[in-house]
């Protein structure tokens, strides 16, 4: 991964995780959270005046969050916090950005914003992006390839190749309808014949691991 064998940690990889609310009393401002992505792993304390605030400001600007820089991060909304996390993930200039369900529990417009910001990063800096999500539509416009996983089976291909009723029905081993309208995709499980084989969670039909690169 990014030129090194896979392991537990790699500083050339940026990582955005599932939205998890930070406590309102967290003694960090948005810019401190972003800064952690740069030097949070270093021992000791930072000497005053040696903190690379310039890079932190640039990362916040890249996600249009300059206004939030001095706000205690616990007071930001979920979408705003996630925006700060994108800045934290890109501040160290990673070669690869791993996004693990970063859209979960965000409202529709925040989902679009976050997806758009990740895409902007990819286009402007050539960062590879691996995006794991159940929410297909917010990222569909930016996806190059999808790796669609169902119960250990998978399909790899462009969205047009993978997101079809035939392919997904085959993957799920039960009837699945893919409905397209105005560029949106709805994957819906049809009432399956009584089949002890499939577990219920397949029916949500939203499991997708699009690979953007």
């Amino acid at each position: 991964m990014a030129g090194r064998p896979a392991g537990r940690s790699n500083r050339d990889i940026g990582y955005i995780q599932q939205q998890r609310r930070l406590d309102a009393r967290t003694p960090l401002r948005a810019r401190d959270v972003v800064r952690q992505g740069l030097d949070g792993h270093r021992w000791g304390i930072a000497r005053p005046g040696r903190v690379p605030w310039g890079r932190v400001r640039a990362a916040l600007a890249a996600v249009d969050a300059t206004n939030h820089a001095d706000v205690p991060v616990g007071l930001l909304s979920g979408g705003e916090q996630q925006r700060v996390r994108v800045a934290q993930a890109i501040v160290a200039d990673p070669a690869l950005l791993l996004c693990d369900e970063p859209l979960l529990s965000l409202d529709v417009s925040s989902q679009q914003t976050i997806a758009g910001l990740v895409d902007r990063r990819r286009r402007e800096h050539g960062t590879a992006v691996l995006f794991v999500t159940h929410e297909i539509n917010p990222i569909l416009p930016y996806v190059d390839r999808i790796l669609y996983l169902v119960d250990g089976r998978f399909r790899l291909g462009t969205p047009a190749e993978v997101l079809t009723s035939e392919t997904l029905s085959e993957l799920y081993r039960s009837p699945v309808e893919v409905i397209r309208r105005d560029g949106l995709v709805l994957v819906a499980g049809l009432p399956a014949p009584a089949d002890a084989h499939g577990t219920r969670w397949h029916d949500d039909g939203l499991r997708a691991e699009p690979l953007v690169s």
């Binding site: 003694p27 000791g44 007071l75």
Partner: protein, 327 residues
Amino acid sequence: MTTLILGSGGAGGVWHALFDFADYGQLLALVRNSIAAGAILGIVGGLVSSLVMMRDLPFAVHGISELSFAGASVALLVGINVVAGSLVGSVLAAVLIGALGARARSRNSVIGVVMPFGLGVGVLALSLYQGRAANKFGLLTGQIVAVDTPQLAWLAGTAVVVVLGLLVIWRPLLFASTDPELAAARGVPVALLSPVFMLLLGLTVAISVQVIGALLVLSVVCTPAAAALRVTASPRAVPLLSMAFGFVSVVGGILLALGSSVPISPYVTTIAFLIYLLCGGIGRWRAARSGRPSSCSRQRRATTRCAAPPPAQATARLSRRAPSRQR
């Protein structure tokens, strides 16, 4: 200069017991060691408390202090160094709590089980102890004249270890406290930092028990940072303010307690609490002026809206993910 008398009769008598500044100069010379100990404790406690608040450990602090009390009582009974006893007790407790409970819920139940046991051992040792009653009481509620020079040296040495240790692990510990997964992905040894911090916390509690007593350790190792968090979110200002608050509460408490016949702890805890109230007021006032919700009201909303769902969500997500792991 003699007593400050307000009111008369019975009230005057109580006042006299609380504040009597006759012969203050001579008293001050006698308790120089205690004031030095108080200053050290206030500063170290303030520094540690900011991390205690960030890592949500106030209950652990209380549990550690009860076991520290047990260690000190047993030491008193068998006639060995009380400081050493309280150190052993609190370090054992800190390591145990750190090792057994990585998650808040299981940690709290471990503490809830271990704490009364420790307190019971302490009470047993004290009731068997035949020496001065003041020694017994002092371990629970603090003592002022008890700090002799070797004890002060112990205390100062421990404090230096704690402060140096914290300075070394400060940044990664802060990172691991806000975002453990991410910190691990960036190469922070998260699994190592937690026990190291618990050890330093245990040392801090042990020296606090010497001065303020086992029951009131939280006023030094929790309240200062809680107050600081009400007025600032800067990661640099919180520990600095917190150290200042700790210093003012402990040293101020000792200075006031000098002119009285009661233990120092009520003075320390009252000053700490007043600082907290003041900071809370300032925080509210500033929030009302800026229009942003105060962290207090926001927290209430956040807990009603978010505190319950995440566990369910997390398990649901885990069970969903399970199949893809088979790849």
